[in-house]
């Protein structure tokens, strides 16, 4: 079934980036399913504009994920306010963001837990830098933030992660 489009040009890009995009989308979306919806919309939109996507275009794909995720989140917030249902609040903890079926499952849980406690602006920089393999300059361009600010956010986030992971592992 999957061999039917495994040779198509978009599939190489998808195979390389899908887990990273999903992790990035999970920074805003409460569940894996919601994040997949965001990735689907972003990837299709991106590929239609850049059918011969090169490495230099990848930041645009992350930017599309971010935009659609934020739009979706704003839509959800509006819906929740409209329905005035407190129990319908978007949960921040859901499916694990990392692959737990591996030797480092405990570490993955610790990272997942610690990552969720970071401020959003630091969390997205860490995810883009560590798992998205983007440079500071690409992240700065994507977020529209100064390079030094992005680097500082990363540095703070890394320190907090190290500290919280230590605490988490001890507990």
């Amino acid at each position: 079934m999957f061999a039917t489009h495994a040779d198509e040009p978009w599939h190489r890009c998808y195979r390389e980036l899908a887990p990273k995009l999903l992790l990035f989308a999970r920074q805003w979306m409460p569940s894996q399913a919601d994040a997949e919806d965001v990735v689907q919309a972003a990837f299709v939109r991106f590929w239609k504009k850049h059918p011969t996507a090169e490495r230099e275009h990848y930041p645009l794909l992350y930017a599309a994920v971010r935009t659609i995720a934020l739009d979706t989140l704003r839509g959800n917030d509006r819906r929740i306010r409209r329905e005035n249902a407190p129990e319908a609040e978007v949960p921040r903890d859901g499916d694990p963001c990392f692959d737990l079926a591996m030797e480092q499952a405990e570490l993955a849980v610790a990272v997942d837990h610690s990552l969720r406690q970071l401020p959003g602006e630091q969390r997205e920089v860490v995810v883009l830098k560590l798992w998205g393999d983007l440079t500071f300059q690409e992240i700065a361009d994507m977020l529209g933030a100064p390079l030094n600010t992005v680097a500082a956010r990363y540095r703070y986030a890394l320190d907090k992660l190290r500290e919280r992971m230590t605490t988490y592992e001890r507990s």
């Binding site: 489009h5 198509e8 998808y14 887990p19 997949e36 570490l107 190290r162």
Partner: protein, 162 residues
Amino acid sequence: MNDPDFENQLRSIQPSRPTRSLEERIARDLAPAPVVSAGVIPKKSLLESLLPAFGWAGVGAATAVVVMLSLNLTGAIGPQPPAPQINPDPVVTKAESAENATVRSEVVDASEEGFVDNGAQGVSRVVRYNSIERRKWTDASGAITLVEIPREDVVLVPASVQ
């Protein structure tokens, strides 16, 4: 643990993989639209090339002429009351108001619109005439003025019922 080691440790954790349905959904969204027909686009004929230039209005006008001619030529099919006579020759009369003015009336279309019951006068056929009345006169300076007035007349023609 220094920063590079810590970064490498974090990078070693793999993000969750998407479900297979995501790939299928993207494949479906990116699938090319089905092609209805394939092949070489046939070369346009001369008529097809000229039609856009002259516009469809010309075609409409030509069709109208053909319909009008066929109405005049074919007449009624089957036993019907005699059709009203349409004088093919334009009627040329002298206008009363101007000494040198002429009036030409040309019938361009005639259509039957069924029967009406006129009570004591019996049944009549309703015939609608479309004509153009052309008035032409010359003034003292020799200038010629031509006016075309479209006319529409509905005539009741007595019909015999057997």
